[in-house]
Symmetry: C2
Subunit: 466 residues, 2 copies
């Protein structure tokens, strides 16, 4: 492991910025102070800003194959289209994991939570492939294999009908065995690869699946992840299914806690919010996906006032359709200014940066090791070039980074002290080859028709009163 010292770099401090040197020894931040001893390689930090790496705290990497082409539809119908055309080749999973990691790192993210869609019948191979890709890039990976044990039609409220759903193709027990095997084979936190338990959400999972996941989580010290109340339809479904809100139910079955992160959280009641605060669960805000799918605006200012930890995700590239974390942070900050007239509660750029870094670490229960520039923490760091046109003229560096539209601004990035980007170029993988592969394995498409959407759309419109 190479030690290094970043010299003369701007960092954010209590009342603004300071110019300091930052020593990194054995993958950890060893010292932060002006004009300290050079240890290891010297890195020129002049006219650059150093921040802790952000967390892309919710995405689905293989959705990259369908970005740009998904119809303009709400989640329930969109999902049907998505699965009609899902990639079924592990090599695709590999390339889209690389692509997701590259875009995340180029926008300041050093960790990714990949709620990974598994190829049926090749579940462990899918996970192994994603692990391989993330190890090659060097990003810190939190792989959350997406599991369910009910079939897709169960995910919609039934309205007045008495629904009969096909059983899911794999048993709950078999699914849990796959996850346990994945933990044994791949869960290596000290090497930057983590497996999470991640039932997709109350809409497609039985209590037995949630309970099995909680049990694995306790036994192997795994973080827990799930979608939660992304759409109005899911709110309706929860009431049908449980007679209470989804949050109340998840609390009752013991799924919430300080290592549980929940993606979306758009349709929560005030009582639900109090439960999230009490259980110290984390909300992962995916503002662009929530807009693209018309899911709604998550009540993020309420969460913050209630003391709920909030961080950001890009969500999968079929519902965003980019993996640019700075874009998610910008929109996830300013979007809420229209929800509360009192600007004293609006999210400042400095707060947004803390949500994206420390907030992400908290959601994965590793705030003691990551998420801030603190001596003793692991060196997941990003160095931004402040001489880039998109960050000029010079004003407040974090204001420019969060509220502007930074382009090509990541000069260097390190994960656990290992340099992944240097002079704006990846040191670990060949991005040009990746680009070529993505090009060769795809073609421009203009239209396609989803059979499943055609089948379920009439019912969806009826239930939603359209």
């Amino acid at each position: 492991m190479v030690n290094f010292t970043i010299q003369d770099v701007l960092i954010a401090v209590e009342d603004g910025y300071a110019t300091v040197d930052v020593q990194v020894v054995d993958g950890k931040i060893a010292a932060i102070a002006p004009n300290i001893e050079l240890i290891g390689t010297a890195i020129d930090g002049k006219n650059k800003l150093l921040l802790p790496g952000f967390f892309n705290a919710h995405t689905h990497s293989s959705e990259m194959w369908q970005r740009g082409i998904m119809s303009v539809l709400p989640l329930e119908l969109w999902l049907a289209e998505l699965y009609d055309f899902a990639p079924l080749d592990p090599e695709q999973v590999y390339l889209s994991a690389l692509g997701t990691a590259v875009e995340t790192l180029f926008s300041g993210g050093t960790s990714v939570v990949d709620h990974l869609v598994l190829i049926p019948g090749q579940e462990l191979e899918t996970i192994a492939t994603a692990v391989r890709a993330y190890r090659e890039v060097g990003i810190r990976a939190f792989i959350a294999p997406l599991i369910q044990d009910e079939s897709i039609t169960a995910g919609m409220p039934s309205g007045e009908s008495t629904p009969i759903h096909e059983p899911y193709f794999r048993s709950t027990a078999a699914t849990l065995e796959i996850i346990e095997e994945a933990v044994r084979q791949f869960h290596r936190p000290e090497e930057g690869v983590n497996i999470l338990v991640a039932p997709t959400g109350i809409q497609l999972c039985t209590d037995a699946l949630f309970a099995g996941c909680s049990e694995l989580s306790d036994r192997y010290h795994l973080c827990r992840h799930s979608h939660l109340l992304e759409t109005k339809a899911q709110e309706k479904l929860a009431l049908e299914k449980y007679g209470c809100t989804a949050v109340a139910h998840l609390q009752r079955i013991g799924y919430l806690g300080d290592r549980t992160s929940l993606a979306h959280c758009v349709w929560l009641t005030d009582a639900d919010i109090a439960i999230l605060a009490e259980t110290q669960s984390t909300v992962v805000h995916n503002p662009l996906s929530n807009l693209r799918l018309g899911s709604g605006i998550a009540p993020i200012l309420k969460y913050r006032q209630a003391g709920v930890n909030v961080t950001f995700g890009c969500d999968g590239a079929s519902s965003n359709d980019s993996q640019d974390l700075l874009e998610a942070i910008k929109i996830g900050s300013i979007l809420h200014n229209v929800t509360d007239l009192d600007y004293q509660y609006w999210i400042t750029p400095q707060q947004a940066v803390e949500m994206a870094s420390l907030g992400g670490a908290k959601g994965l229960n590793i705030a003691d090791k990551l998420g801030s520039l603190s001596v003793g923490k692991q060196a997941d760091l990003v160095l931004y070039d402040l001489t880039n046109l998109s960050l000029l003229p010079r004003t407040d560096p974090i204001g420019l980074l969060v509220l502007g539209r930074p382009t090509n601004v990541v000069a260097s990035a390190w994960v656990n002290g290992k340099q992944i980007i240097s002079n704006g170029q990846f040191t670990t993988i060949n991005v040009d080859e990746l680009r070529q592969e993505l090009f060769n394995r795809s073609q421009w498409e203009t239209s396609r028709k989803s059979q499943t959407v055609a089948q379920i759309e009439p019912h969806y419109r009826t239930v939603m009163g359209l």
Copy 2:
């Protein structure tokens, strides 16, 4: 003028895409068809998408000097801070006009409507400076000198108090004389430089100023521009001031029409919307600014259903804080999916492109000459590189461009047939020198205090019920 033929390029057609050649002769599109004769220089269009140039239909170029540093405040207070620190040096106006043009062109815009803030006492020099900058870059410029004839405190609703406002420092007649002189000196539509009449809005302008502008507009065939109902406070103010809505008043005094474009339009009633449709006025949607300032979500889907023409603007870089038109188009499309449950009305990427191009041309009353790839129209064109990582894997090119986060994708751009960008580089100005100048004339700032905000904030909070 150099003639050229773009060969083997993708263009959007009724049912998807076609690969064609596009001939440009004497600055106009002469032919569009597969495999036609090469006229002039050959441009390789392979793996590229050709679109008509977009319009950045509302911005304030000199706000670039304060991007990133403006406090998180609603418009009325934000404006006070903005003017406390406004640039007063024409050289700054020159550089920020260059910067605005560069960022607009790099994101697909070939026209800019600059609602230009005038330096007091140097009004004509400010306009001359912006004209010089835009001519140097080669962007099509619509310069709308921002004028008012009431002082800033008049822009807030009075509530229960009986307000007395300082008179504005310059008379209405003197202001109108400046605009007329600017028209004589600089209005040269055939050379790509246009002057617009542009009272800032009902909140700071008398009827006399609107009437004078209408008169100049009629006499010199000038387009008309204005802010309109950006905030809830302006809605209140209009009712106080006129006893009717701002739109009803503007119709009464004859300011609306098919060459009138109105920025923001957040707080309109259904009756107001019908007036905009009837008068064929254009709405310029500035979604990022409306979020940043907490102004609200403009009812864009209602406008479209009522037949009102809508196009996009970045707004000034102090309220956005970028001039990336693709970002404005993306957010301005997907933002409205949360306002209407029925996805049949949501804006598709193809519709968004039409709004940004033809919609912009309509708003400036030049849809007969610009805004689409049509034989006989002027060649304001942008060629996008579809092999860029941010546009891969290949799916629907326009879907990727609008819903993704394209970075460095503009390969070439032409205005009136003149090439401005070639191989991703400006041919007309030295962007690196511009970057250096912006760097040298600024410094990183962390905090500053606006005296005016401190003065007016208590009144604002009272009137707004905070």
